[in-house]
Structure formats: C-alpha cells, structure tokens
C-alpha cells in the first residue's frame, strides 16, 4: 500500500475521485440484481440514474430520414475522409453553429450564442473540470449551494486541486440561495485565508428539479460582480423545463439586462446528455464570455475533443429548425407528463416532493419515515429502500444536503410499465411503514421521495451499462 503510494501520484492514490463512498451500495445492489420485466421482475429498479430516455424515437426518426448526416451511409460516406481527418480543436464550424442554434432555441430565442465562443469537452464532466483549470489554481475555492450533484467533487476538485465551499440552503425557505448565506460563506472563507475564485450553480437544479427565478439569478450575478469572482452556471438541464412552467431564464439572458456586469466573469457549462438523452456521445460544451478563457480553454479542449463523427451528425440535426422546435416541445411535454404521473402515484400514499418545474428527477421528503432526524437514520432508511423495496435511489446526504430525510428519485430512465411497478413497491412500502406504531409522528403532506444520486449515474459505475446493457451482454 505504501509502496503503491510512492509508485503512483497522490492524485491516483487519493480518494478524491469520490468513488469509495458508502453510497455505492445502491449501485452494487442494482448491478448484482438488476430489474428486468420478464427475466428478473424482482430485481432492483434503477432510479438513481438521471437519464432522459423518453424521446429517442424522435431522434431515430430524424436519423433515418437524414442518412447524409452519417459518414458511414452511402449518402454520407463521401465526407468520411474529411470528417475522420478533422481534429481541429476549434471544432467543425457547422457543429458549433448547430450548438449555438440549439442553445438559443432552448432559451426561447431570447439569447444568441456566438459559435466562436463554443468550446468542446468530454461531456459536462470534462467541461466542468476544464473551466476549473482555467479559472482556479490548486488550493483556490469555489462556492457551491447545497444540495448539489455529488460528482462535482470529482469533476471540480480531483485533478485540479480546487476546493469546494458549500453554501447551505434549507427547506424552510425552499432551498433558496440567499444573499446572506453567500456573504457568510464568503466572509468565513476570507477569514480562513481561502482564496475564493467563484460561485458555481446548476440551473435548473440537480437534485431539486427547479429553475431559478430572474430576481434570484440577478442577485447572484450582482454578488459575484461585487466580489469580482467568477460565476459558472451549469445549464445541463435547460431543456428539461416542463411545458407548463414559466420559461427558463439562463444567466446568458439575465446579463443582457445588466449592463454593469463584468462579462469576463460569466461562464456557461452545457451538454446534450440530459436534454437530448445522449450521454454516450460525450458532447460537453464550455461557453465563456471571457476571451482569455475561450482562448486558453480551446487549447485545453485537446484533452477531450468531441468525436468528429458525432460533431458531423449533430451539426445537421441541431440546425434542422423543424426538428429542433418539434423535439424541444415534445420532450418537455413528455417529461412533464411522466413527472405528473409519478407524482400522482406518490400522492396516493401521501408522499410529497419539492415542487419542481424541470429535471428528470424528484426531490422527495421522507422525513416522517426516519426513525430519528439524523443522517444515520437516513442511511438506514436508504438501505431498507434498496434491499427490501428494491429501488436504487439517492439519499440527500450524498448531495451534501443540510437536512436528513431527502431523497432524489429519477423517473425518465424507464418505460411506463416499470414506473408502475416502482410506484407499487413504494406504495406497499409506505403503507407498511405507516402502519408501524413507532417512528412515525404525523403525516407530513409534503413528503418527498427522491431516489437518485447523479454521482452514480455518471460514468463512475454506469449501472445500466455493464450488466443490463445489451451492448455488454451481446459480447
């Protein structure tokens, strides 16, 4: 062990990748015993994986109708050699145009994106790490509101040496990011001699599934502007905002109304993994309003360029106005429909959740099912849910939530039948639990069940892939 630590780097032998946490039990349980409707109906249902599987048919239809978008088909192969040879880190112009167009449409056309500011990276994972390398030195810190996506610890800190300063948010005021909380966290960091380089948020939020209102977003921009620190907005869930919700407001839109904001501080992280359901294609984007960051980030993107085959395919898909319009509206509609169905199922057993208007998961409150209001009790409940109820969900503590009892559960990564089965299991479990004489005080009408840790849906263990994916079994 010691020898190994001498032989390899500290980074390689540390735990900072975050993958040795106890939360892997959920994933292991799923991998050992994955649900299958016919082959393994008693298996664990995966609700810890924030994937959007609802709109593939729309994409498949487009692909079949546009064979020239592939460099492998007879219609497209004449472009094979040029595309296969293209490794320019600027990226294919048409691809960048397509991404800029898509990102703009996702924001209702209220913002225009400059294709020359679009940088590629290995998924949002690569994008988040890249922006940290550009903005912060080892030892520097970024503030981050809780609860947050668990794998940020790996993505933002592991190889960069950056540290995270959590800004705790509470259910008592709907997990709002308050100016007071930010000021307090900032002040404390200064007192501890920590160099704060910026604030990073995910909007729409993972795990809350909510979008920030314009005023809050403006107040965050004012805050970072005042302190002259960076603002990184991970907008990876931007197109998952439900149809009936008020429109999504991006930081890119807000700064258009804030003339005095220093744009050199504003950076957007994006990806197609959630909005389009393409995590396998590794399409990560860094969009910065800072010219130096664009220039340096572009060189760094060499370490995680997007396959030109993928760039080429997406270039035409994302520039197809008709397709983009149809996809965006249908995708939001389906997500909302699935969300509503799931919520209804939970409400039938008086389980409630944090009201959300976006995302592919729910943030649920199972406080009343905890034996006591502690994180130990939360973990205990979580193990029961995995092992007895056979659902892989994500406990709030893995998101650094300040209060025990919250769980994230994903609903867009399965078909309707599986969802019904999951709901039945939940109903049965809660019914059983609520009949118990101890441990339950009174009904809390806004109970939330939230079962997923995005940490685990990342490539960390990709539970759907190694065992359950036919791509693995076929070999």
């Amino acid at each position: 062990m010691d020898f190994s630590q001498q032989l390899l780097s500290k980074i390689a032998t540390s735990d900072k990748h975050g993958e040795n946490s106890p939360y892997f039990d959920g994933w292991k349980a799923y991998e050992r015993n994955p649900f299958h409707p016919t082959k393994n109906p008693q298996g664990v249902i995966q609700m810890g994986l924030a994937e959007n599987q609802l709109s593939f048919d729309l994409i498949e239809e487009w692909i079949l109708s546009n064979p020239e978008a592939s460099i492998c088909t007879p219609e497209g192969v004449h472009q094979f050699r040029n595309v296969a040879n293209f490794q320019d880190y600027h990226g294919l112009q048409e691809f960048r145009n397509g991404i800029a167009n898509w990102m703009s449409k996702v924001r209702g056309g209220r913002v225009r994106f400059d294709p020359d500011r679009i940088l590629m990276s290995g998924g949002a994972t690569g994008a988040n790490e890249l922006i940290m390398f550009c903005l912060a030195d080892p030892g520097d810190a970024f503030m981050i509101p809780t609860p947050f996506y668990p794998a940020f610890v790996r993505d933002l800190c592991w190889r960069t040496g950056v540290q995270l300063i959590p800004v705790h948010c509470h259910s008592s005021n709907n997990f709002k990011i308050t100016r007071e909380a930010l000021e307090e966290a900032y002040k404390k960091a200064k007192e501890d001699n920590i160099n704060v380089k910026g604030l990073i948020i995910t909007n729409p939020s993972n795990p809350l599934g909510t979008t920030l209102d314009k005023d809050t977003l403006k107040s965050l921009v004012s805050f970072i502007n005042e302190k002259n620190i960076h603002f990184v907005c991970d907008e990876i869930y931007a197109a998952t905002v439900f149809s009936s919700s008020p429109s999504y407001v991006s930081v890119a839109e807000v700064i258009q109304e804030m003339e005095h904001c220093n744009r050199d501080l504003i950076h957007v992280i994006y990806s197609l993994s959630k909005d389009m359901g393409f995590p396998g294609f590794r399409v990560g984007i860094v969009y910065s309003f800072n010219d130096e960051v664009v220039s340096c980030g572009r060189k760094m993107s060499s370490f995680g360029l997007i396959s030109s085959q993928t760039q080429h395919m997406l270039a035409s898909m994302l520039s197809d106005e008709k397709f983009v319009t149809k996809f965006l509206s249908e995708n939001s509609r389906r997500l909302e429909e699935r969300h509503d169905k799931f919520m209804k199922g939970l409400e039938e057993v008086n389980i409630t959740r944090f009201p959300s208007n976006a995302g592919i998961f729910c943030w649920m409150n199972l406080k009343s099912l905890l034996k006591e209001p502690t994180f130990e009790a939360e973990l205990k409940l979580w193990r029961v849910i995995i092992n007895e109820v056979k659902l892989n969900v994500s406990p709030g503590s893995s998101f650094d939530c300040s209060e025990p009892g919250w769980f994230r559960v994903c609903f867009a990564n399965m078909d309707d039948e599986t969802m019904d089965i999951a709901l039945n299991r939940i109903r049965a479990f809660v019914g059983k639990e609520t009949k118990k004489p101890v441990g339950l005080k009174r009904w809390q009408p806004n109970l939330r069940l939230s079962f997923s840790s995005r940490r685990f849906d990342e490539s960390v263990m990709s539970p759907h892939s190694p065992i359950a994916s036919p791509l693995v079994q076929a070999t």
Partner: protein, 467 residues
C-alpha cells in the same frame, strides 16, 4: 487578485512555438492545386491520408453499422445511453486484437487492462496524472514530439528532462545519455518518475532497437519507483525492416523476471495507423491494476464517443479487413517514403534512414550558414515563406543539433509531394548560387538574409536559443 488560473495565463501549452506558428502560416495561405497553386504545402502535419479508400469500401460493405443497427435491430438507444467508462467490451476486444496483430501476434493484450481515452493526447496526460505529482519529472529522448510539452506538463505540473541524443549514432538512446539526464534531473532537484519514449519514434521515423529497449528496461528495473511509458502510436506504420519490437515483447522475452511488468505502460491511438484523428480514439494499456483503476476513473474527462466505439468495434472486429488493411497501408507508406527520399536526394538533401512513421527526419545542416539554432530558424522561415512548405524545425522537437527538420509525406497526394520536392530542389539550387555569388562578391552572407521577415516573437526567439 489574478482573474484566471496560472495555467490559463502561462504558455506551458507550448503553442507559441514554431511548430504551431508554421501551422498558422499554412492556414493563412494553404496550397490548393487549383485555387491556390502557389500556397504553402502542409508538411508539418503527421497525418495518414493514404488509406481512406480501404475504410470507405469497408463501410460500403457494412451498411448495418452505418444505421446504428446490429443484426438488423436498432441499437441507437443503447449506444446513446452508453457512457460506461469501462468502454464498449466489443470495441476493447477488437482494439486489443488489432494491437496484437500489428505486433505480429507475438504479444497479446488483455481487454480488461485497456483504458479508452479521447486520443493519445488525453492518454498521455492521464498517465502523467497517475504516475507523477506536480514537480516530478519524466525523461524523454530528444528529439521528441512538440505536443508532449503540452500533454505531459501543462495541467499536470510535471517536468520533462531531455535525454540528449545525437546524429553521431543516429539519435539512438545511449546509457551515457540516460544517466546524464538522470543526473541533470537530480541537480535540478527533480524526482524522476520514469522514462517516456515514442516507438516508432516521432520525429525520427525509426523503430527502437532491441538493445535500446533492453537498456531502458534495465534502467527502470534498478530504480524501484520508476515507470516506462512507451507511446506506440505509430506501431502500425512500420513499413520495412527491422520490424517493430514493442516493449511488451521485450518484457515477454525476459519473462518479466524482474517483476517490472507493473511499471511499464503502453499508449496507443488510431489517429496515425488508421488515419482517424478526428474520432479521438486513444488507449492506455497497463498490467498495473491500480493504474488501470485510476486511469479508468480519469477517463471520465475524455471518453470515446459510443457511436465511434461501435463503428470501430465492427471495423476492427473484421479480421479479414484488418489483415489486409495493415499490409496494404504499410505498402503505401513505404512507397510514399521512397518517393520523398528520392526527391530529397535529387535536391542534394539526405535524411535519417527510416522504416516507419509518416515523415522523414531530414538533414539540412549543410544549408545552414552557421551551426546555430538561429540559422536553423532563418532557414525554416525561408522554407515556409519563400519555398512554401510548412515543415517542422528540429528545435521545436528539442533536438540538440541545429539543421534537422521533420517533413511529412503521408498527408497529401503524390502530385503535391512531387511539387513539394521540386520546390525544395529549386530552392537549394538557388541558395547555392546565391551563396556562391555572395562569397564571390565578398558580401557577408548575413546581409543577403536581412530582407526576410522574422516572425517569431523575441520571447520565442530566446526559447529557441535555450534549447
């Protein structure tokens, strides 16, 4: 407070070097047979464009792959969702089989020990993150690929200490040079974590000899915390004897009685052998489980697109295709290299005898007006701006002797190569005449060069001299 990170504002990315400046000049004025026949011919880019037709014809025969289908069934959904950093098993199997085939099946590779990365660029950086802490060093024989300065040092904070190789023995690594490099590192208080070599070599275009490989293995054997990284990205481009000997073969021959198998790592990519740099397919191979585990997690930052993995799993899984491709590709490279060598000879220019790669290591020392890197830069600028060829000066590859240039031959048509050789010959003839008349007229050689534009910044100029 500085707004950006140190990494963002330094120039360790190495992209201010002449290697990249030449590219910029090419991009401003690229040669085109019809539209810009006087433009700059790109000979600074080690691409393999000779065998695309073989890939295209395979695609034509395999329509299922194009349509995201397997056995007639659509697998689009599964591919779109597949983000497992362990990689597509069928692709890894096909890749290791391909790697074994390139090595004449003298060694085999275990698919569970392969880590997929976004190109060799990412593979090399990832290995550095795994093996070296900030400030620790790797020894690299010169001349070496200019991109290593970025890939190995920039974000990792690692250092490179050169193992100086010279033309006196065809730039082979000697025990003396190795020891000197190690001492140099110690003098600089740098802890050496290992040696990294490119085999076949870039920019030399030669395969490493068995004795060199054994020398390196012996070297790391003695020092228990040192690694050997062998970047074998050009392994499939070996077109004549002596054949390619991989470090893995050496380990096998030695039965790894030294137990150093867990300190030897191979880097590979499909960018050169298959000519697919756009697809970003790189790999790390290691018998060291801890390295594989750590590198696998790190590969999250640069996975290979599942769509690409799938396409290549089918292509490389077609053994009939790969057997034919390897042979035919090597034949074409050999022919092309011969063309260049003979073209250079006609211009009175020789090059290092090579048996691999996509380039020649060309000796233009006799064209320098003085044995200095300054003179090399002057010559380089003339070749870029006057002759219209973007080639890579040896100084950008950290060569210790001025006058050597890397010239690529596999990224253009035969006609373009012929034209490039013609331009070079004309230039040499003219230069010789100019020099003769200058001498005859008693004019200083330097004066005749003052009219050339010097584009390098003064900082870069200093860097050239420091090499």
């Amino acid at each position: 407070m500085r707004l950006l990170s140190t990494k963002a504002t330094c120039n360790s990315h190495g992209q201010d070097s002449s290697y990249f400046l030449g590219w910029q000049e090419y991009e401003k004025n690229p040669y085109d047979e019809i539209h810009n026949p006087k433009g700059i011919i790109q000979m600074g880019l080690a691409e393999n464009q000779l065998s695309f037709d073989l890939l295209e014809s395979w695609l034509a025969k395999n329509p299922d792959v194009a349509g995201f289908k397997r056995d007639g069934k659509s697998i689009f959904r599964e591919l779109a969702l597949f983000q497992d950093y362990h990689g597509l098993p069928s692709f890894k199997k096909a890749l290791v089989d391909f790697m074994a085939e390139i090595r004449g099946n003298k060694v085999t590779f275990d698919p569970d020990h392969i880590v997929l990365t976004a190109g060799a660029t990412s593979a090399n950086e990832t290995l550095m993150f795994c093996l070296a802490d900030q400030g620790e060093a790797f020894l690299l024989p010169t001349p070496y690929y200019p991109g290593f300065d970025r890939d190995l040092k920039w974000r990792t904070g690692a250092e490179i200490v050169p193992i100086q190789c010279t033309s006196s023995n065809n730039f082979q690594i000697t025990e003396t040079a190795l020891k000197q490099a190690y001492e140099e590192a110690r003098k600089r208080n740098l802890r050496v974590k290992g040696v990294l070599v490119t085999n076949p070599s870039n920019p030399l275009g030669t395969t490493m000899s068995r004795s060199e490989l054994n020398l390196l293995v012996d070297f790391i054997k003695e020092k228990t915390d040192m690694h050997l990284i062998s970047d074998e990205i050009y392994s499939g481009t070996v077109f004549s004897s002596p054949g390619f000997v991989s470090v893995m073969e050496i380990l096998k021959e030695r039965n790894d009685t030294d137990g150093i198998g867990n300190r030897v790592h191979v880097v590979y990519s499909l960018s050169k052998d298959l000519g697919l740099p756009g697809f970003r397919v790189g790999a790390i191979y290691s018998e060291n489980d801890t390295v594989v585990a750590a590198a696998t997690k790190m590969s999250s930052f640069g996975l290979v697109s599942s769509q690409t993995q799938y396409l290549l799993s089918a292509m490389l899984g077609d053994k009939k295709f790969t057997r034919n491709y390897i042979v035919e590709n090597q034949k074409r490279l050999k022919r092309r290299q011969r063309m260049m060598v003979s073209g250079l000879q006609k211009a009175g220019i020789s090059c290092l005898e090579s048996n691999a790669g996509l380039f020649c290591w060309v000796d233009m020392r006799h064209l320098l007006h003085s044995n200095t890197f300054e003179a090399e830069m002057e010559l380089w600028k003339k070749i870029v701006y006057q002759v219209g060829l973007n080639i890579s000066p040896g100084s950008s590859c950290h060569c210790t002797e001025p006058g050597w240039f890397r010239v690529c031959f596999a990224n253009m048509s035969e006609e373009t190569l012929t034209l490039a050789m013609k331009r070079l010959k004309n230039f040499v003839v003219e230069s010789t005449c100019t020099q003769r008349s200058a001498l005859f007229n008693g004019t200083s050689k330097r004066k005749s060069l003052t009219k050339w534009v010097f584009r390098l910044s003064s900082r870069d100029h200093r860097e050239q001299e420091e090499r």
